[in-house]
């Protein structure tokens, strides 16, 4: 693979060679092996992973790597969260939505040579669901994964023949297919899980496009192309996830050609990246929402007019522009635009302080009404500016006569406080989708059964809950779209949040990178299609 020699890399090589020539005089030489191999793609990450056992870890950086090492039974259509067949060549769902039958892809082997078949696949499922399994994941250390989330409704899992597996559910669970596509449900080699035992999370073995080679903690993760990959041999020979904890150093690495994709691109540095003609910024609506939650069971927020007034009072577009540098979209619906049932006809709550004031007056909220805004004290994935959002909202509420104060606390304490029915203030709130299914946003955040864990605003609406049940039971994509669009309208009108924004996913890449696409889940899927010019 050819590689353009820039002035900078020429200078670097000249220095290395020149110095090498000097050193060769004292017995050292500078062979060409020291240069970065031309078929190596480097992805910059900001933090260290915590391991690579898909169901045991929840760390995003771990997910980046695991998306290249493992495949799931289902996968996401590139650039979307639509589930399509992955390691399953095909699948059927029974009319009652209880039986899922998957035909496995033939001639697929794990990186350790173990064949993928019904027996090896189900041994992996047994590892998760049967604590008596000799390779049970629960014998390997703390488990933070999505086992209950994905398989909680599974009644049985069996092999129909060598290449067919059948899951029977206790109750219909339409997001099951989408959940199976998550990186956290990557299919692991049962032989490797048995071989490495507790150390499997440091020695991941899957069927993915890249084979794990080495993890150097706080430095880099090295992977080699899988020449036998079922979806085509990867076009890049070596893939490296390299840690750059300092954003400025990350930018320099990107500009100097040491890094080609910056997974954790610092939004602060986007102007500098945009000014470099060799670099490109990719953006996509993220799978996230952020806002300010209002306790719907506590006066005056029991009155929908007050909640709507708070929504009209805040200029979300101005906040997006000023504080998020344009890398966020105003929420016009409770769902982010990246979700497949997003209703683009909804317009949200435009900035209208006059309307806010009249609604507050109609609801009997006197000017000077005091309220606390509770904020977590650092940035989060769905809200990178952290408590600054609360300060901005405080300013807007002041303009309509609400006397708000901001209190910042550590995330754990924040979570405990907002989940307590004792807390009467309003609070920052946000969510990052797990599997890309609308139920994972709407039901999780506003469903009555999820009070107070994820429905922290304690919003109850039996009609909405009935819709969610219908949505889980339906196997029809079109019907589910209708159900969740209806739910979006109900929630938007009820306004349990000040719907602020949905952050965009932004990644800087070198223009040498070809074939790379963002995915709403942020994971590095389909990396076998990526090449370097």
């Amino acid at each position: 693979m050819s590689r353009t020699l820039t002035r900078r890399s020429f200078a670097r090589r000249s220095f290395a060679l020149g110095s090498g020539a000097v050193l060769s005089g004292i017995g050292l030489a500078a062979p060409s092996e020291a240069a970065q191999p031309a078929d190596t793609l480097v992805v910059g990450i900001a933090a260290d992973p915590t391991g690579f056992d898909p169901e045991a870890v929840l760390n995003n950086t771990s997910g980046f790597v695991m998306a290249t090492v493992f495949d799931s039974l289902m996968k996401y259509k590139p650039g979307t969260t639509d589930p399509v067949a992955g390691l399953a060549e095909s699948y059927t769902v029974s009319p009652d939505g209880l039986t899922y039958t998957f035909r496995l892809r033939p001639n697929v082997t794990f990186h350790d040579g173990t064949a993928l078949n019904a027996r090896s696949y189900l041994a992996g499922i047994d590892r998760l669901l049967n604590k008596k399994s000799p390779i049970s994941i629960f014998n390997t250390g703390p488990v933070e994964g999505y086992i209950d989330f994905t398989y909680g409704s599974v009644a049985s899992y069996t092999a129909r023949d060598d290449m067919t597996v059948v899951f029977v559910l206790r109750a219909p669970n339409a997001p099951f297919l989408t959940s199976l596509a998550m990186v956290w449900n990557g299919v692991v080699s049962p032989a490797a899980a048995a071989q490495y035992g507790q150390d499997f999370r440091q020695h991941p073995v899957g069927t993915g496009p890249y084979i794990f080679r080495e993890w150097r903690p706080r430095d880099a993760i090295l992977l080699d192309a899988n020449p036998h990959y079922w979806n085509g041999k990867p076009r890049i020979g070596k893939l490296v996830f390299k840690e750059y904890p300092d954003p400025s150093a990350g930018l320099l690495a990107l500009k100097s050609g040491d890094m080609q994709i910056w997974a954790d691109t610092s939004t602060e540095l986007l102007p500098a990246i945009g000014a470099d003609h060799d670099l490109e910024i990719l953006t996509q609506p993220g799978l996230a929402t952020s806002g300010v939650g209002m306790p719907c069971d506590t006066p005056p927020f029991t009155d929908v007019r007050v909640r709507q007034a708070f929504n009209y009072a805040v200029d979300k577009s101005a906040i997006d522009k000023a504080l998020y540098k344009g890398l966020a979209q105003m929420m016009t619906s409770p769902l982010p635009a990246s979700e497949w049932s997003f209703d683009a006809s909804l317009k949200g709550y435009p900035y209208d302080p006059a309307k806010a004031k009249s609604l507050l007056a109609a609801a009997g909220v006197a000017p000077g009404f005091p309220i606390e805004i509770l904020a977590y004290n650092s940035g989060r994935g769905y809200n990178p500016i952290g408590p600054d959002l609360a300060v901005a909202v405080q300013g807007y509420l002041e303009k309509v006569g609400i006397k708000a104060t901001v209190r910042k606390i550590e995330f754990g304490a924040y979570l405990t406080t907002i989940r307590s029915s004792q807390y009467k203030g309003i609070f920052l709130v946000g969510w990052t989708g797990d599997n890309g299914d609308p139920d994972n946003f709407l039901n999780a955040l506003y469903g009555g059964t999820n009070i107070p864990v994820t429905n922290t605003v304690r919003y109850r609406n039996p009609a909405l809950d009935a819709l969610f049940v219908k949505g889980l039971q339906s196997n029809s994509y079109a019907e589910r779209v209708k159900i969740y669009q209806q739910a979006q309208r109900i929630i938007l009108d009820a306004a349990p949040w000040i719907f602020i924004n949905s952050v965009l996913q932004a990644r800087a890449i070198s223009k040498r990178v070809l074939g790379y696409r963002l995915n709403p889940t942020q994971m590095f899927f389909d990396m076998e299609k990526v090449s370097l010019a």
């Binding site: 002035r7 900078r8 020429f10 200078a11 670097r12 290395a16 110095s19 090498g20 050193l23 017995g27 050292l28 500078a30 062979p31 060409s32 092996e33 020291a34 240069a35 190596t40 480097v42 260290d48 992973p49 915590t50 391991g51 929840l58 390997t140 250390g141 703390p142 488990v143 209950d148 507790q198 080679r213 080495e214 150097r216 903690p217 706080r218 430095d219 880099a220 090295l222 070596k238 490296v240 390299k242 840690e243 750059y244 904890p245 300092d246 400025s248 150093a249 320099l252 690495a253 500009k255 100097s256 040491d258 606390i409 550590e410 995330f411 754990g412 304490a413 979570l415 864990v453 994820t454």
Partner: protein
């Protein structure tokens, strides 16, 4: 001497016990816990309880401390709550990176700082003295992160002479039996890798050396000036000793005792405080390990790291004390 060493060893045990108690208590006083940090927004009471149980965090603090102490006495500091690796193993793996960086920085600081201090003292009040002391003031005042970034901008971004960070070119596979990149590269028998290891070390070592270099230069100069006018120096000159010998054997040797103290303290500080340099230059050293562990409330790693750093600090200072005896016969006799 044996009594002295036994006393210092007893002191070390007391320090380690104190460090373990202070670190344990402060880590448990910090708000938030690792289970919440790991599970985030979707943590339920049940999932939190399960994870806390798996991590042993549901035990009373005193039980947790007793377990830690009993384990530590047998060399087992537990496993990292973040990544399930042995905590002490993580510390030992990170230490060589910091050690290599620190020793390189100190080597630079001493080999440049001491001669500069001597020259500045000998040329007191001249332009040479000013030319040496002014930049050292600059060196003491410069924030390391700023200096490191400027060095990267100039030597990596603009000139392209030196790598942006890390210890080796990306993608190079090399066995790392010692963790010291130059030593491992030499052991691999691949000459180019030795050169690459040196190239990767230049900027971080130079950045980290700035403050100790400036301190050592200024202290050497000051101590030299103080010694130069003492009576024994006048006596040495009166005896007709050559000026070079007067400077080396009578002035510099005496001036070096406080310099040695500073070197010892700096070595201890750099070993535990190179975190900014490690962050800017993407080096997987002990400083970054500790900061990451503290932010993640990874108690076993923080405790193992703190005990290890305290041990190193005490041993380094013991080494410095022993060096005093080599330099000054009066101390040896005491």
């Amino acid at each position: 001497m044996l009594d002295y060493l036994a006393g210092r060893f007893g002191q070390l045990l007391l320090v380690l016990f104190g460090v373990s108690v202070v670190v344990f208590v402060t880590m448990h006083l910090l708000p938030g816990d690792v289970a919440t940090l790991l599970l985030g927004d979707r943590a339920t009471a049940a999932s939190l309880a399960r994870l806390r149980h798996q991590l042993g965090l549901d035990q009373p603090v005193i039980v947790q401390y007793w377990r830690f102490l009993a384990g530590a006495l047998s060399g087992d500091f537990g496993t990292s709550l973040r990544d399930n690796r042995p905590a002490f193993g993580e510390v030992l793996a990170a230490f060589p990176v910091t050690l290599e960086l620190t020793l390189s920085a100190l080597l630079l600081a001493v080999t440049i700082g001491v001669p500069l201090g001597v020259v500045a003292a000998l040329k007191e009040g001249t332009w040479i003295d000013t030319a040496i002391t002014t930049p050292t003031l600059f060196g003491v005042s410069m924030p390391v992160f700023w200096l490191g970034l400027m060095a990267l901008l100039l030597f990596s971004e603009k000139l392209g002479w030196l790598p942006v960070g890390g210890m080796m070119p990306i993608g190079i596979h090399m066995a790392r039996p010692t963790g010291l990149s130059i030593v491992d590269a030499a052991l691999s028998g691949r000459a180019a890798l030795v050169w690459q290891a040196v190239l990767h070390l230049i900027l971080p070592a130079a950045t980290l050396a700035t403050i100790p270099l400036a301190l050592i230069t200024r202290i050497t100069r000051g101590e030299m000036l103080a010694s130069m006018h003492l009576e024994y120096v006048r006596t040495a000159r009166a005896k007709g000793l050559p000026e070079g010998r007067v400077i080396r054997a009578h002035i510099l040797r005496n001036a070096l005792i406080p310099v040695l103290t500073v070197i010892g303290l700096q070595l201890g500080l750099l070993l535990s405080g190179a975190v900014l340099t490690e962050t800017i230059f993407s080096l997987p050293g002990l400083g970054r390990l500790m900061v990451d562990a503290i932010l993640a409330r990874d108690y076993p790693v923080v405790q193992a790291g703190a005990v290890f750093v305290a041990t190193v600090f005490v041993l380094v200072n013991l080494g410095v004390d022993l060096c005093y005896a080599v330099l000054d016969p009066r101390i040896r006799r005491q």
